[in-house]
Structures are given as structure tokens and as C-alpha cells.
Amino acid sequence: MTILGEFCLWAAMLIGVWCSVIALSGIGQGRPELQAAVTRSPHALFGCLAVASLALWQGLISHDFNIEYVAAYTSRNLPTYYIVSGFWAGQKGSLLFWAVVLSLFGSLAQALTPRRHAHLLPHVAGVTSAVLVFFISVMLFAANPFERLPFTPPDGRGLNPQLQNIGMVVHPPMLYLGYISITIPFAFAVAALLSRRLDTGWIHAIRKWTLVSWLFLSIGITLGMWWAYVELGWGGYWAWDPVENASLLPWLTMTAFLHSVMIQEKRGMLKRWNLGLIVGTFLLSIFGTFITRSGVIASVHSFTQSNVGYFFLVFLIVAGTFAFTLLYTRWPLLEPEAELDSMVSREAAFLFNNLALVGIAFSVLWGTLFPILSEAVRGIKITVGPPFFNRVNVPLGLGLLALTGIGPLIAWRRASIANLRRQFVAPVVTALVTLGALLATGMRDVYPLMALALAGFAAATVVQEFARGVRARMRMHGENPPLALGRLVARNRRRYGGYLVHVGILIYFVAFAGMAFKEEREATLRAGESVDVRSPYGHTYRFTHMGISQYEALNRLVSAATVEVRRDGKRLGLITSEKRQHVDSFRRPTFEPSTEVGILSDLREDIYVVFAGAVNGTEQAVYRFNLNPLVWWVWFGGGVLVLGGLTTMWPGGGPTIRTPRPVQSGYRATLTNAGTA
């Protein structure tokens, strides 16, 4: 099967080269049969890469440890679902995963794009094929997933314990889907530039793709935070690590695009900016992959250091030069069709929103690259960690939260004073009341105060928008409130789905603010001993060490330490944290012992217990106890965000378009009731 897999990679490479050369060189111009062949080649590419993927999966599932990749990431006693996820657990497999998913998206783009955009499709096929050729050549020349060992080990090394988590089964594919799907909007943008068809056609063609990409990135990032929280054991979910930053960068620029594209659709403005954002987003997705795989920047999450990263660097430079040169040459064709009417307009608010989003992206990128720059300029290595990012980005994030509330309140084109007064009164009052209430409870931390007050402001904005819409429907159509709400959202999915996304974002901010008040305590306890920890809400939690039990599970030896938890004297239950020594099927240790945290979660705070280790081989245990406020709301905010995204992209909706009834040719008769009585 590996021979078949490698053969398929070579076949895909040849098809990809042929397709991209024909499509991008202009050879196919005026030759319909060539154009048709080009638009069919993404399906052939997908076929080849799907067979190659099945060949790797077959190797993984059949424990063919002669394949280096299979031996490096799986073992005989690894649960089946982790064997399946082993496909994307390592460098080589994840490259194949990337390639097969991109080929699937490329194929779907050809099949699902409405025929009115057919003129763009050959170029789209060319661009997706060119990107695929790059990924396939990296596999064939630097990281071949089908590479064989000179011997066959009796068992594999197994999967890194930290990857043996359901979050890691789902999080990487989601993030990859987000990264990969960005290629399709990029391909349409390049196609529009190449074909000089720079009307709003390409924008309409990519609308769903940009939303899909944004949605997958959002899900991937949220799942990544969840995995970091439940698996890494440091009690947080975001550490401004370069790899985390790399996932945030394209999300920020894609979010900016989703806002600014509305201005292009409504007013025919910002054409250059939108093209730049799409190109930038694609390049940032490649940049993220470069960071993850090159080892050029130290990261907790990086793949092993390898020369693969430099392939990505070269590709990044080539793709960037090509795309921006193309954009430059088409500059005169991208004149705006209208101009901004007023500083106080929704267009202007969107522009400032774009500035904030792109500014934050720049700030994150700058912080991520600054150590390299510093070393190049001063010859001194420095570290840029969370204190730097928090200092620079928290104020920018708060500005963005304010704009989340302000944008929807301002009318398109030009807002009047009366309009502003009517729109802003309720949200501003809500923000002030929130602020006053928090100050009254004794909260004095500036950033959390601002975050919560601004979240109140943005929430009031959304509630006001929904209330106005429902009231209008009730008055105009005589509907009851639930029906009016349902129809309001169903008929304006993009708008009200967008508001739901805003709600998700502001829930995130509230949850992030909560983490400013987390409590941590380390304690060493003998069985039966207790320790008290006071939560930010004023509760006293008592943790009593119940003992450590040891047992063997499928692919690991477990030491489970259990504590009983009481809140203000009331028993909440038992929490168990584990030390796991993973072993292969010969019971040989495969990795250093890992830690599994124990979490008891509710709406107010998470009780987070970490078994740090035992003292001198006895049951005396060292624990870390964390009380993390509002963490549940991060996951809930993620859910709302995804729901909003799905609402926005759900097919249909929009006002009903009445098609004129066909009129019989030759004459037109108007029926009246005259003479019928």
C-alpha cells in the first residue's frame, strides 16, 4: 500500500504541475477543451491524494511499523481513535492531511461554485493546484509519510501522552480545515486579478468559503484553548505562545475581511483593501505553518525542528511576491465606486474596526517576530512572553470590544445626531450601570472593569437591535414575539447571525476578564489531611486528600490521586488527578510520566486540581489547586460564536424575491370586477 501511496503522490504532483502551468500561464486561453480539462483536474488530484491517505491510514491501522511514521506515532496498544488521529499527529502525516483536504476543497470549489462565476474556475483550479504542488513536493522531497525503515521494530513508540486527548483528535483537523480553506478565497482573489474581472462576482463566489474558513478557525482555536486547559495542566488556556499566535493571525485578518467586504458589497468601496486582506490572510496561514514546523521560534507546541520550515519560508516569499505584484499591476482597475459620506457612518466604524483588527494582528505578529529581529539587530536573544503581549494587546482588545458595540449603532452613509442619541442611550446607560455595580462590589482592577463595562455596552447594543427588529415585525406583520424573533433571524441571517457572533465575542471577553481573579495554591497532604482555599466569590473550598491508587489501563500505568471537595462545608464530590506512565505492548515506558488534571466545572468557577507528584514514594501527595472564575463561559462563548457563524452562512434566508408572473405574449388582459355584479 505504501508503494501505491507514494505512486499516488507522484501522480498528484504531475497532475498538479500540468494544471497550474496550463491555467496560470495562459496557454489555455481560447481553448475550451483545455479549460475544461483544467477545471476537472482538481477532482483527479483529490482522487490521487485520497488514495494516498487511505494507504497511510491502512499502514497505521495494520501496525505496519516498517513505515517510519507509523512506528514514530503509534503503538500496538494505542486506542483505535488515537491511531486514526495519528494521521495528523506528526509532521509528515499532517502534510498529507493538509494536501488531501486542500484537494477536496479545490474539487468542491469547482463543483459547487455557481455557473455565473465559471470564468474564474480555471484560474482557481490553477492556484489550488500550485499550492498543492508545493505541499506534495515537500512530502516527496523532505517529509515522506511513506518512508520505510531498514528494519521492522516489534512495536511503535506510541503517541505523545499530551496528544492522547479527545481535544487533540478534533482540534488539529479543525484548525487545519480553517487554514486550508483560506486557500479557496485566495484562489478566487488571484483568479479575479488574473482575469481582470474585478467586479463583486468573486466576492459573492467566496462568501461561503470565507465564512467556512473563519468558522473552522474559530472552532479550532477554541478547541485548542480547551485542550491546553484540560491537558497541559497550567491552569490557563491562552499563553501567547508563537503557535497560538499563528492561529490567531489569520482569524483576525479574516474577521476584518468579513466586515470590510460588506462595504464593498453595499457601496463598491475598499476593493484593494479586501483583496489585500485575503492575500494577507492566506500568507499568514502559511506563516503559521512555517512557525509551527521550522523551529525558528521557540514554542511549547512546535513540531520537531526540521528543514521543512524553510520550504514554507520560500513558498511564503514566492506566493507573497506573486500575489502583491499581481495586485499592484491591477491597481488602476480597482477604483472605488463611491466615497465615504461621513465620519459618523457605519462605513467609517467598519474601517476603524478593520484598523483595530489588523492593528492587533500586526501587534501579535510583531511580538512573535521581535525576538528574531532583536537578535538580528542587537545580537542579543530576548524573550517576548505573556507580559509583553498582555501589555500591548489588552488595550487594543478593549478598543475592539468597544467597536463591536459601536459599529451596529451607526447608520450607513451618514448618521444624524437624533439617530446617534436614539441608538446610544440604552447601551451607554447599561455600560455605566455595569461599571457602577462592579465598583460597588469593590472591584478595582482597571482592565477587568473596562472589559465588563464594555461587554455590557455591546450586549445592550445587540439586545436593542433584536428588540427593535422584533417590534417592527410585530407591528408590521402582527406576529407574536417568538414568531417575530424567529422570522427576523430567518429572513436576515447574515445580520442577526453576525450579532450572535458579537455575543459570543463579548462572552469571551467577560470570561477572559474573570481569569484576572484566579486563585492558586500548592499543598502537600497526607491521606486524610485538608487544605482550605478561598475563592474570589468569597467561598471557602476544603480539599481533603483521600489517597493514591495505582492500576494498569490499556496503554498506561496510572497513579490516581483523589481529593474530596467541600464548598463552605457542603460536599461537592471527589476530584481525581492522575499521573500516567505510558507503556508499549511490552510494558516498556514510552514517554516521561504525564499529568492528567481533575476539573469540577460550574458556571461561576472551575475547581482545577493537579497531582504534582508523590513525596518519597509514599501516599503523601503534592497538589496544585486552582479556582478559575468564569472558564465555562469561554466554551459557551465559543458555542455561541459558532452558532452565530452557522446562522450567517446557512443557505437561504434574505427577503423573498417576487418573480414576475409570466405574461402571455401578444396581449395583456386586466381583469376588473366591472360588469360582473
Binding site: 495542566g233 484598523l355 492593528g359 532583536s374 509583553f388 500548592e522 497513579s559 501516599e619
Partner: protein, 214 residues
Amino acid sequence: MTGRSTRVGEHVQERRQLVRWALAGMIAPSLSHLAAQDPMAGGGPQGRLRDPTITGRSRAPTVPGDNDQWIKSVEQKLKCTCGCNLDIFTCRTTDFTCTYSPELHQEVVALGQEGKTAQQILDAFVAKYGEKTLMAPKPVGFNLWGYLLPGVAITLGAVLLAVVIGRRARRQSLALVAADASDSVGQQPAAAESVDATPEELDHLRRALLEVED
């Protein structure tokens, strides 16, 4: 015949002996393991674990300095030297295989006990391990670029945006005034006349638009 039966008997004896040895070989380690195990295993505060090796590195009991907020805040500004990219506090309370962060923690505690201020401890670490030991670079010299450039870029962008929007809005206003002037000289706007609706309908539409399309 007798000789043969004697040999068979010897064989049986040998086999039985082998089985006895084998059983003894299997049971003896278990018994010796039991003998070595604490009689209170898993049952009390002094209970020894059946297999201490699988719980990772043995831990030292917690001391008050481990929970000191001041020590924690200093450690969160200093990077662990094990290559994990985490600060000392996070590394020592997360990566329990790391041998560097507990030692660095002891260094911080010792410096604190000497009466050094937070800044003095940071300076001592920079002197010993270099500038990369700080989780965020000092905002001086070239590092100021790191801190200020994003803010400066965004501020400049905002000013530029405001100027451009303001200029274009002014141009639009002037164009509208000119259009109004030419309308007043010439004829009534055609658009107003062409709308086929009663004033009530127009008013209804305007209110609905105000409600929904603000």
C-alpha cells in the same frame, strides 16, 4: 523393562521438580515484593506506593515560599532555562519532569530572603542568565520599538483614516450642495415625483426603515 520404567520415573521426577522450580520462580518474586511492601500500603498517611517510579520524579513537600504571591509574581517575569518557553512559576507548577525550574525557584526564594527587591532579583537573573531570562524585554533602547510600534502604527493609521474620511466627506458635502443648488435653479427632483406611493405609505416605510435598517 525395569530399567526403562526407572528412567520414566526419573523423567517424571525431573518434570515435577521443574514444575516446582517454575512455580517457586513465579511465586517467589511476588512474595518478596509483598515482603518489601509496607503493611499499610494504600491505607494510611505513611502508606508506600506499590510502584513509585510511575508517579514521576519524587516531590519535595511544599514550603510556605511556594505559595508566596510576591515570589510568584517575580517568577512569572522570569523564563525557565530548560527550553520549555514557560516562566519559572508556570514551569515548576506544570512540567513536573523539569529539574531546572525548582532550582531556579530556590534561587528566587534565596534572593528574596536576602532582602532583595523584585527588580534586584530580576537584575540578578539578567546578570547571570542574560536578557533572554526576562519574559518581556525591558522597555529601553531598541526594545522600545517592540512596545511602541504597534500602538504608534495604529494611532497613525487612525489619524490617517480620520483625515482621509474627513476630506472625502467634505468633498461629498460640497458636491451635494452644488447638486441642490442646481436642482433649485432648475426643476424639482425627478425621483420624488416618480415614487408611486401615498404620503402615509411613505411615512410607514420611513418608520419601518428607521426601526430595522439603522
